[in-house]
Symmetry: C2
Subunit: 217 residues, 2 copies
Amino acid sequence: MVGQALAEGFTRADYDVTIGTRDVDAALARTASTPRGAPGFGDWHSAHPGIGVTTIAEAADAADIIVLAVAGANAPEALSLADPESLTGTTVIDVTNPLVFAPDALPSLSVVNTDSIGELLQRTFPEANVVKTLNTVTAPIMIDPKSLDDGNHTMFVAGNDAGAKDEVRALLIALGWHDLLDLGDITAARGMEMYLPLWLRMRMAFDSPMFSIKVVR
Amino acid sequence: MVGQALAEGFTRADYDVTIGTRDVDAALARTASTPRGAPGFGDWHSAHPGIGVTTIAEAADAADIIVLAVAGANAPEALSLADPESLTGTTVIDVTNPLVFAPDALPSLSVVNTDSIGELLQRTFPEANVVKTLNTVTAPIMIDPKSLDDGNHTMFVAGNDAGAKDEVRALLIALGWHDLLDLGDITAARGMEMYLPLWLRMRMAFDSPMFSIKVVR
């Protein structure tokens, strides 16, 4: 859901987008709707023929910017399917959250407190420039922040490489974000991911994911 | 620092305030300034003679509302110094955060992810009505939210007892809060406490604790 939304949003913002997936044929053959009622990937792609679909390795190899839009727990494995050379000096945007949903417990985080997925990715792939962002809002707001109070809310950015953060900032501005807050190096991903339990309680309270937060000073 | 600020704020809002402390004589004898440059407790109290100072047990016994303003890790022990009868049916406002500051590591939380201080207090003192609030802003904003964008930012409330939350809501409104968000039962304390690492990174980015967040829908 997040990857497809971002592909649409980036395309609308005039970026060329290619989706990387483990099995291209299997992905394109999926036409059954998702449990949430979204179209299957194959049908979705038929409606968005300008968006490429290929293997993760090929998508990463051709990419100037890589966006990791997978379940947080799967993020390191997904990135490991890219050639290390493809990652060298490449900006990797990590929009993931390490959420664990269990039947008899409240949602929790699989990586938390003294580590984060953002840090784990940067440690595992030191040749990449990991930038954490967009994980604090639902997908429709990621790509259309102005749909909410004319974009008058805050998006956080964290990462070790200033150049990579500049690239991400330009991309966020192209999506409509204007209140960007640089939280420093990738260790700030910890705080950004640990915000999720509060986000989930607000989602429950509103019975909707269509909200965000504005930092007020 | 938080307890003294709240005592001043509640007094200004026409509540009668008594501070409970383990050793009254020792507390009043402290005149040396704190490491942050605040006056010692004795000097502070001389400037606020209308605020009572007594033992935790006596303060809790006389209180309609108990406010726990201590380090998160010490919150259960502090409340254990009150007579259980004093706690029965009494609203206990938990403003604490389980922050751990270590010399060679980033700050972390001592209770996190699958539990929280708020829940721990409610489990340990089932006779009390624990309400989590105010832990997401610095003390001067707790007692004067209108100092920031005319109070146009959000305060969260969580707890199991509707009547206790009504009491707390009235108290927050008396302090100047007007954007209150009820997150449901005390398990929401988890999200409220896990927000702290993000708060700490913003504090670093701004080099100031004078900020808050507004939930935008």
